[in-house]
Amino acid sequence: MQDQEDACRLTGLGRTYGKGVSAHRALDSIDLTIRANEFFTLLGPSGCGKTTLLRLIGGFDQPTAGEIAIFGRNVAGLPPEDRPVNTVFQNYALFPHLTVAENVGFALRMLGRPKAEIAATVARMVALVGLEGMEHRRPDQLSGGQKQRVALARALAPGPKILLLDEPLSALDAKLRQRMRSELKALQRETGITFVFVTHDQDEALAMSDRIAVMQGGRVQQLGKPEEIYEAPANRFVADFIGGANLIPARIGARGAEAEGLGVVPASGDLGAEVTLAIRPERLAILPAGQQQPGDLGPLRVAERIYMGNELSFRLEGALVPLHVTLPRGGLRGAQDFTPGDAVCLRAEPGAIRVLSS
């Protein structure tokens, strides 16, 4: 089936900067397949290699190892102008001396399309991103959100097989960012174009993506659907980076995982192995210390009560690392509130504790 064809296949892809001892491995042997028509996100902190990977796909940089195939065609050594891929740049990179219409029509003009076709496509693209009436403005007469839309329209106009988006929302304010998320996702569904989206913002990634590759140190740490990444982090890094899990050092004992100061929680593994327990702050319940049962974490002391409107969170001390528990606002109804100094314990939802090798 056409839809199941791979949009982009990366095999053993590497990019090393510099030589000898000062060499920096920005990308280390990446194997990745991006499916056609999916919204694929490269997520990671700055310096993780996500932008390097995007630049390699776009042809702005060449790999030092491995291969890139776009819809089955090896694009090794091809410059950006020979790849069926277009890019939305981080700061938009709109041509400041050209109008909105000229920016949007630029690629079609380069491809030598007839004037009438260019005009029709530009009109369609401008309408698609909701910028009717702005065709004759220049970029410096547009707001940040409007520039963003022009950049999108410009990259979509030539009908790319893959659209690359390099942190396109990072220059927008919080409210607009929220709205552009929904619009981007809708645009991707409407056009059916494969989107490869780079971001360091986990909320963005979780909200928009079909699949996410979490990157760190030039490698893919985990590849999966947003739910898989969030609920079943593959390692410590992913657990910490996505959603900020509690990461508790522990050792596998005879009755389960023993965490210093917290008791024993049910877990299996090699006896004596050092592990990390990862628990999401919202999958814990907070109870008075007197109600502690076997398997609960405690006793702990409330160090800080943090009210954030839609949720309430507590920072707890008494273990090797401070622990966090977050209650949705509704979750507090009927439950007891706590103040700093209270002795408490924590009860994890079934299946909430993940044991990660340290």
Binding site: G58, G59, E81, T87, A93, L94, F106, L111, A155, P158
Partner: protein, 266 residues
């Protein structure tokens, strides 16, 4: 109330600033004011005013030698500035793509001629052109002027280029523009104000040059500054003032044009 009052640190609020500034400006412009004033002298003296007239300007415009020298100067400045601008643009384009350390080295090499005393460059050029058999004349002047114009043209061009978003060329490539088209449709139009300022600066520097021109000009290729100097030796009349005033006017026009271009694009 701002936490930090910027005005307190403003140099303009220091005592005596106004007086110092006035004296400095007066010192800079007083000679030029006198030069222009005496160019309108009705008499032959350059130190005693005998009424005002246009006679020395009429004398300048009637003097064919001055016209020839002026034509030489302008032609030379146009050619030198144009060639220097092209070469400086090529240098700037290459250098913004260099790594920082190499760029610093290239920058030093390019700008070193600015630090060398001009008389040294002049004598070196004279000896060099004689020894390679090029001789004196318009050709040698063009080569020498082009050479010393390059660093002047380079500065505004590279300033403009470094302020340009390098992603723009990437974007053009991404949108299927070939390298030459990227340059023609994106880089060049955005670079235009820098090219204009660079060209004008080079033009003025070439037009005003005396030392190198006096060494290298041969018969028939005398430039205006060299000719003015030779007029002095024959006895000074306000005619010298008049032709010098015209050069001041030409320079001022170029500087104002350059400033207007810079302001329009800032």
């Amino acid at each position: 109330m701002a936490l930090f009052d910027a005005r307190a640190k403003d140099i303009r609020n220091l005592p005596g600033f106004g007086l110092t500034a006035t004296l400095a400006v007066a010192f800079l412009y007083a000679p030029i004011v006198f030069l222009v004033l005496y160019s309108f002298n009705a008499g032959r003296s350059i130190s005693r005013l005998d009424g005002l007239s246009w006679r020395w300007y009429q004398a300048v415009f009637a003097n064919e030698e001055i016209a020839g020298a002026a034509l030489n100067s302008v032609l030379l400045a146009v050619i030198a500035a144009s060639v220097a601008t092209v070469m400086a643009t090529a240098a700037a384009l290459a250098m913004v793509r260099m790594k920082v350390r190499r760029r610093a080295a290239a920058y030093a090499v390019l700008n070193f001629p600015l630090m060398v005393p001009e008389i040294v460059t002049a004598i070196a050029s004279l000896i060099f052109f004689s020894s390679v058999g090029l001789g004196l004349g318009f050709g040698s002047l063009v080569i020498a002027h082009t050479t010393f114009c390059i660093p002047f043209a380079y500065l505004p061009i590279t300033a403009r280029l470094t302020s340009m978003d390098p992603a723009l060329e990437s974007a053009a490539a991404d949108l299927y523009a070939r390298p030459w088209t990227q340059f023609r449709l994106i880089t060049l139009p955005l670079l235009a104000p820098g090219l204009m300022s660079g060209w004008l600066l080079a033009f003025i520097v070439s037009l005003d040059d005396f030392i190198i021109s006096s060494m290298l000009s041969g018969p028939g290729s005398t430039t205006l500054p060299v000719h003015i100097y030779s007029m002095l030796r024959l006895g000074i009349t306000p005619e010298v003032n008049a032709v010098s005033s015209l050069m001041v006017l030409a320079s001022a026009l170029v500087v104002i044009t350059s400033g207007l271009i810079a302001r329009k694009h800032s």
